[in-house]
Symmetry: C2
Subunit: 357 residues, 2 copies
């Protein structure tokens, strides 16, 4: 049986990408060894790195004003590196829209003053606060947001224009839609949802910001170490970068972000419709204006029915649908690699289950 | 033509490991998706993590007094994390035996006083200083050494007993021989030589040391974050951990470290003999007492002959033999995965080349 993997991350990758990586796993382009066995200083890996960088520029629309680097430690390491490097005024504005925003704020507090410009904590993170309610401060080093909230199922539908550089954690929706990169000072994303395997964060940083870093920051925690050495100061996670290269190849093949955005819109619309049309059998706590197209969270009338539903979907080859342990219920993560077929199959089961229960 | 990969790292992995990883790349144990697509919180990856941890305990002889964790950023990140977490007296002893020791010292200086207990810098890092010449200080937080020096081709033949916890960077010789782990406070190693793909460091740390960390260290840079959460505070590099599991499976299959040590001894002996018996055609700057069994560095009479030799070996399917850019010459990295056959082939070519030039 074909398995559909709705995990929130690490998540499924496009089938053709996995098959290509498998095919050349032991013998990369006739070199007699796998890409992960190649030196990071050799011409074969250099070509992979250059290709991946260029793909990201092409697909995501990243201008020369930005550097593209790969940093180990995931988004969680960025929560610390951002204030360590960029909080040059001693204060920064943060918008608190869930667990990941809060974690980013916790690390930033070690380095300076964290000002909550807006939050939805008071309503259990059920929406993204409207931009006109944000209280941005004049001397903030930057404004930090979380573009998609994996656990609570909310997502920014667009982005504000800010005076201080806007920094976005896009771990769970990067390259799922078109974004005007020029609005941002920095965009970062753990790779393990839309980009590749876990073990690195993609960091897109405006060149002028890199100079902010204070002197006494350790080498591996300075952005300049990565930007000045094209991610090759030390051995980078070569296999992860290679996989991002394959995934961005695939994005180009399927028509780029304009096309992916259409498919992602359609997938999410189908799922939310099944919820909205269920007469309350399925329900989502997320306000309509902030619904995530990547992580659709919903509940059933009782926990017993939820457990029963989870068994049914599993028996039908759909895994990873259990909600995050902090909120319970269901979560369907429908990143780029999830085909429409998987969502259709889930919706069919949801409708059947509702009729039978 | 079969290719023998003498790269210093990322390096070749055992053929059977690469083939097994390839076979189950898209469908891990019949789950319908690859291990790198599995959630790090699911039972399949949990089993991989537990298995890998146990393998390391079994193979390397790690007692319950130590925690085993996987930290992103390679050994270079450890250069900063060690002083950040463990330099509780404000000073530490370092033995400087080459580039990597120096880099570790540079980061430590950001956090306290670095005392050079011994060094071989004055003789171009051609040996490991004898233990009875070391000047260890009474109030050092720890003693830091580099067990094998990839660039200069030297290696500790045994280890001293120290009052302060001994911390060893074993990136390039971990699990290549038997080691008495109980002599150490901490052992760490970038994975990309003897253990698996690049993108993580294996850290084996004595439990009592973890409590030393000062309060204001960022979450992702605290050892306790990893030890208290079994490396699962955030998403770990799941594929890398899986690969270390396969590599340690392979070590068990071939008879454990006692057996690998014999093979590694024999491989190195063969290569050094070819150098020693060449009447000075091949020469190594490394003193006999400190010769590395992992990275054999040697020179030819002229740079022209070195270039010619590199062309010859490449034409014969041997790659990665060029020495590090900082020292020139040749470097044959003969980690665990390099079979005797590869070394024999290299030695045969060396002997032929010498006769013809």
């Amino acid at each position: 049986m074909k398995v559909f993997n709705f995990n929130a991350g690490p998540a499924m990758l496009p089938t053709s990408v996995m098959e290509r990586a498998q095919k050349e796993f032991c013998d990369y382009h006739g070199t007699g060894c796998g890409i992960l066995e190649h030196s990071h200083r050799g011409k074969d890996f250099q070509a992979v790195l250059d290709h991946t960088n260029q793909n990201i520029r092409d697909v995501f629309g990243v201008s020369d004003a930005y550097d593209i680097v790969y940093i180990q430690g995931g988004a969680s390491m960025q929560f610390a590196m951002i204030p360590m490097n960029l909080m040059n005024t001693g204060a920064a504005d943060y918008v608190d829209t869930g667990t990941w925003s809060s974690k980013a704020m916790k690390e930033a507090k070690l380095f300076g003053e964290v000002r909550v410009a807006a939050q939805s904590k008071d309503t259990k993170y059920d929406h993204i606060p409207a931009f006109d309610t944000w209280k941005l401060s004049d001397d903030a080093s930057y404004v930090h947001i979380t573009s998609n909230n994996t656990i609570y199922g909310t997502q920014y539908q667009d982005f504000p224009t800010t005076k201080a550089p806007l920094i976005a954690d896009m771990s769970s929706d990067i390259m799922s839609r078109r974004v005007d990169v020029s609005k941002f000072g920095m965009i970062y994303a753990g790779a393990q949802k839309n980009l590749g395997p876990s073990g690195l964060a993609l960091v897109i940083i405006r060149r002028d910001l890199v100079a902010r870093t204070p002197e006494k920051v350790p080498t591996m925690l300075k952005y300049a170490t990565y930007t000045e050495n094209n991610s090759l100061y030390n051995t980078p996670p070569t296999f992860g970068i290679y996989m991002i290269g394959l995934v961005t190849d695939w994005i180009k093949e399927v028509g780029g972000l304009a096309e992916l955005e259409k498919v992602n819109d359609a997938k999410a619309a189908l799922l939310y419709q099944a919820i909205d049309d269920s007469n309350g059998f399925y329900s989502t706590p997320v306000k309509k204006c902030s619904r995530s197209k990547m992580n659709v969270v919903f509940r059933l009338p009782t926990e017993e029915l939820e457990a029963k539903f989870l068994e049914l979907v599993k028996a039908n080859g759909m895994i990873g649908l259990k909600g995050h342990r902090s909120v319970g219920g269901m979560r369907a993560s429908i990143y780029n690699a999830m085909p429409m077929e998987g969502v259709e199959k889930l919706v069919t089961l949801m409708n059947e289950f509702r009729k039978n229960n």
